[in-house]
């Protein structure tokens, strides 16, 4: 009967199709879970892969998730059966929580020429870059940006903004902590005031920034370093980060090795590679952050013109770990109103 023949052909062709995608691999594979902007064509991912594969005799395989916080959720969802060898893209605000899962092995690395503002003491994660959250705007569209977080929050007719979800994204979580730092117990109230001017809450940084570039809102939550991208990659001088009087919340992005991974040696090699000059010089003009182990004279020129926060705001790991859930709930409650 014709229908039998047809279904046979269909099934066989599907198997052939599937087979071509699961091509046999002989080299060891290092699975790196990271966020999507890292692996995008213009992000550091492709260059890092190329450089590392040159020296490791291995295949570097990215599994790209929306943003930093989803990395941690995904890891918890997969539990001890995770296929990740390296997780790259958590930040200082998630370190304590990530360590508590017990999934990560100590990095056992000698930290090389750190360019971080403070000395690095964590023994599980290796920092690869850092930066300060900031609202980025187009000077041609927004003539007078707010000059403090309070000014942004309090001004009912202030500019509309694009932000990220603290449940999935590290900038989103960063803003949550920033507001908490500035407003303390009054954070919920601040969010309620800000709420009508939030155009959308995206899952990751790339989505929000993409919308900003399409002029969906005059301001987007990003980094003080973002304008450098427009200067260097696009030769556009009209983008700037608004400097806030209260100071800017600081983020250090880190990578860690999974304890149960079968690629311990390869994994440590990657953690070490992260601190190498090769990796570190890729970061400024692809991830658009300050590298964690590169002296400042090797930074591109445009980085010199960026906003220098008057004060770097930060909570300590333990305080975040104790309160994150509560604060996220508070945020949800405030925005649900």
């Amino acid at each position: 009967m014709p229908y039998l023949k047809f279904s046979k052909i269909l099934v066989i062709s599907i198997f052939i199709l599937l087979a071509t995608f699961s091509n046999a691999e002989i080299k060891p594979t290092l699975n790196v879970y990271t966020y999507s902007s890292f692996t995008s064509d213009w992000g550091p991912g492709p260059k890092v892969k190329e450089a590392f594969e040159k020296e490791c005799e291995c295949i570097l395989n990215y599994v790209a998730l929306e943003d930093g916080v989803s990395l941690l959720s995904r890891l918890k969802l997969e539990g001890k059966n995770t296929k990740a060898d390296i997780v790259l893209g958590l930040d200082t605000n998630l370190i304590a929580n990530a360590e508590k899962t017990g999934f990560f092995a100590p990095h056992q690395q000698q930290l090389k020429n750190s360019s971080l503002p403070e000395p690095w003491t964590n023994e599980t994660f290796i920092p690869y870059d850092f930066g300060y959250f900031a609202f980025v705007y187009d000077k041609n569209i927004l003539k007078t940006p707010p000059n403090s977080l309070k000014a942004l929050v309090e001004d009912k007719n202030g500019p509309k903004i694009l932000i990220q979800d603290p449940r999935t994204s590290t900038p989103g979580l960063g803003l949550l902590l920033w507001v908490k730092k500035v407003y303390g117990d009054k954070a919920a109230e601040a969010w309620r005031k800000l709420s009508p001017r939030i155009v959308t809450v995206s899952k990751g940084w790339s989505e929000a920034y993409g919308l900003f570039l399409k002029n969906e809102a005059p301001m987007v939550l990003s980094y003080t370093t973002s304008p450098a991208y427009h200067v260097i990659a696009e030769e556009k001088l009209n983008y700037a980060a608004a400097e806030f009087d209260e100071g800017h919340y600081q983020q250090i992005e880190v990578a860690g090795l999974i304890k149960s991974s079968k690629q311990q040696v390869l994994g440590k090699k990657f953690l070490s590679f992260i601190q190498s000059e090769t990796f570190q010089t890729i970061i400024p003009t692809t991830n658009w952050m300050y590298p964690a182990s590169l002296s400042s004279d090797k930074l591109p020129e445009a980085f010199g013109d960026l906003v220098q926060p008057k004060q770097a705001l930060i909570f300590n790991d333990i305080e975040i770990e104790e309160n994150r859930k509560k604060w996220v709930r508070e945020w949800l409650d405030a925005l649900a109103n």
Binding site: S36, V63, E78, T82, S206, R329, W331, D333
Partner: protein, 523 residues
């Protein structure tokens, strides 16, 4: 018949086990009573529950009221140009994947669209538009046959008595509709209450999240199984309540209603206002339904076709999707075949309760949201395996079983009638099971079998529900890929992906219906 009972028990177990795992998990957390208290006190969760019901209610009221106007116009204008074509088009949303519709709606009402609604699109407005896109055509198709239940003498009386449009409605149409509307309304309410893809893509912010999406976010965002379990149980209770309400009214309406034009209504006097507005209702509804699909195709043609179609991702996703669709349809048909035969046999042997129970065991999954089952399975399996490795299998299983209620409705009556007509004869001729299937059952039933297979495969291919829970960059289906593009606001790429997905769905539907159903099928 034994095999039918075994399958029934298996089906019930498949629903029961994840639910028990949910209850088990919630019990485990009873020490953490604080979670429930916390959620109870949370503005956010109260908003979620309220919003779930509110948006479903609004969607239902809107869909039904517009559908009544449109269906009324259709029955009054039996010779409206392209009437048949338009009504066929109205059957399309049944097989248009929800994410595709969302993309189409963004193409029309999005910022760059034909009728920009701006920021308002994301949130309640967008959700309502999407739900209306699906449910107005559905309701129109379900309502039109109601006009046929009006005795033609009533229309003749109305024309002699010179009823005005309002009086026709009040004395003739509303009394007839009144009996059918509750069941149609509850069906639509249920569909909107459990709608996931639409709310995920067009809502999902803290102000516009439904229970269904909150369950997903609890697992995937917060990794809060406790929270997910509580929300899933709450969703289950609401759905069962709605389902129980629905059974108080008549049973669910037919999937393939009779849409032949009514012949008597057009004699009733129509005021000038009516004559003008009736065609407008039809035109408005048609434009409303067609424009998203059209806008999407236009966007796709103008979009980066080459870029999207030469990307390996889309082909890998297509392979996964086709695999899921075909296997789910086969699984569903396989189960349904034995179940329906056993049920028909029981019915012939005068055991109506057994027969009905078998059908019920296959239909009951309709009232349990797939995401609730998915969550149960997720929590159950995550103790033992990496659930993301099992994504495809679980998606196939759940989609296959979700298709059963559709098959029971399309194939069930045919099998029963077939059994009554030919059972004695086939038995007396001494066929073995395969011969009988090949020579008697299949040739006579291939049309409904083809339609069933096409429906289930198409729905499975376009499903963005369970796959969102279990999907990962390694196992991405077409709807998930489309969702990711939509979520990162790559609208042109998304438009191409959506058009591609819709084309694949429709081709598959057409192929399965034609290849299995045959050209000269009986019945």
């Amino acid at each position: 018949m034994k095999i039918g009972i075994i399958i029934s028990l298996f089906l019930l177990a498949f629903i029961a086990v994840p639910l028990i795992s949910l209850f088990g998990a919630s019990d485990l957390l009873s020490s953490q009573k604080s979670t429930i208290a916390e959620m109870w006190n949370s503005t956010y969760f109260r908003r979620v529950v309220f919003f779930s019901i509110w948006q479903a209610f609004l969607s239902t009221v809107l869909s039904i009221s517009v559908a009544i106007l449109v269906a009324r116009a259709f029955t009054r204008l039996p010779r409206f140009p392209f009437r048949h074509l338009i009504l066929s088009l109205f059957g399309l949303p049944l097989v248009v994947p929800a994410v595709v519709a969302v993309l189409g709606i963004v193409s029309v009402y999005g910022k760059q669209g034909w009728l920009p609604l701006g920021e308002n699109l994301y949130g309640l407005t967008g959700i309502l538009i999407a739900h209306c896109f699906f449910n107005i055509p559905l309701a129109v198709r379900l309502l039109i046959p109601t006009w046929d239940t009006v005795p033609e003498q009533h229309w003749r009386l109305a024309s002699q008595l010179q009823f005005s449009s309002w009086q026709q409605w009040k004395h003739i149409e509303w009394p007839a509709l009144r009996e059918n509307i509750p069941s149609i309304a509850l069906l639509i309410f249920m569909l909107c209450l459990t709608s996931f893809a639409v709310v995920l893509t067009l809502g999902g912010g803290p102000r516009s999240t439904t229970l269904e999406v909150a369950i997903y976010q609890s697992l995937r965002f917060d990794f809060e199984p406790t929270q997910a379990v509580i929300l899933a149980l709450l969703q289950l209770v609401i759905c069962l309540t709605v389902a129980l309400l629905a059974t108080r009214f008549s049973k669910l309406p037919d999937v393939e209603p009779n849409l032949n034009s009514h012949q008597n209504i057009n004699q009733v006097q129509q005021s000038l206002g009516d004559k003008i507005t009736q065609p407008l209702f039809i035109i408005f509804a048609t434009v409303f339904v067609v424009s998203p699909l059209l806008a999407m195709f236009i966007d796709a043609i103008n979009g980066p076709m080459l870029e999207v179609l030469t990307d390996g991702k889309i082909w890998k996703a297509t392979a996964f999707s086709l695999f899921i669709g075909l296997v789910a349809a086969s699984l569903s048909l396989f189960i349904a075949w034995f179940l329906l035969n056993a049920s028909a046999e029981a019915s012939i042997k005068n055991k109506p309760i057994l027969s009905q129970s078998m059908l019920l065991s296959g239909s009951i999954i309709f009232v349990v949201p797939p995401l609730v089952i998915g969550t149960g399975l997720f929590i159950l399996l995550s103790n033992y395996v990496n659930v993301f490795d099992w994504a495809i299998g679980i998606v196939i299983l759940i989609n296959g079983l979700m298709g059963l209620p559709f098959i029971i409705r399309t194939l069930g009556p045919a099998i029963r009638q077939h059994k009554m007509q030919y059972n004695k004869l086939s038995t007396s001729l001494g066929f073995n099971a395969w011969e009988r299937f090949k020579h008697i059952d299949f040739p006579l039933l291939r049309k409904p079998i083809g339609l069933s297979a096409a429906l289930v495969a198409t729905i499975a291919i376009g499903d963005l529900g369970v796959i969102a829970l279990f999907g990962s960059p390694e196992t991405t289906t077409l709807p998930l890929l489309l969702y990711q593009r939509l979520a990162s606001y790559q609208i042109p790429q998304a438009a191409v992906t959506a058009a591609f997905l819709l084309a694949i769905s429709l081709c598959l539907f057409w192929l399965l219906e034609k290849v299995i159903g045959g050209k000269h099928a009986e019945h």
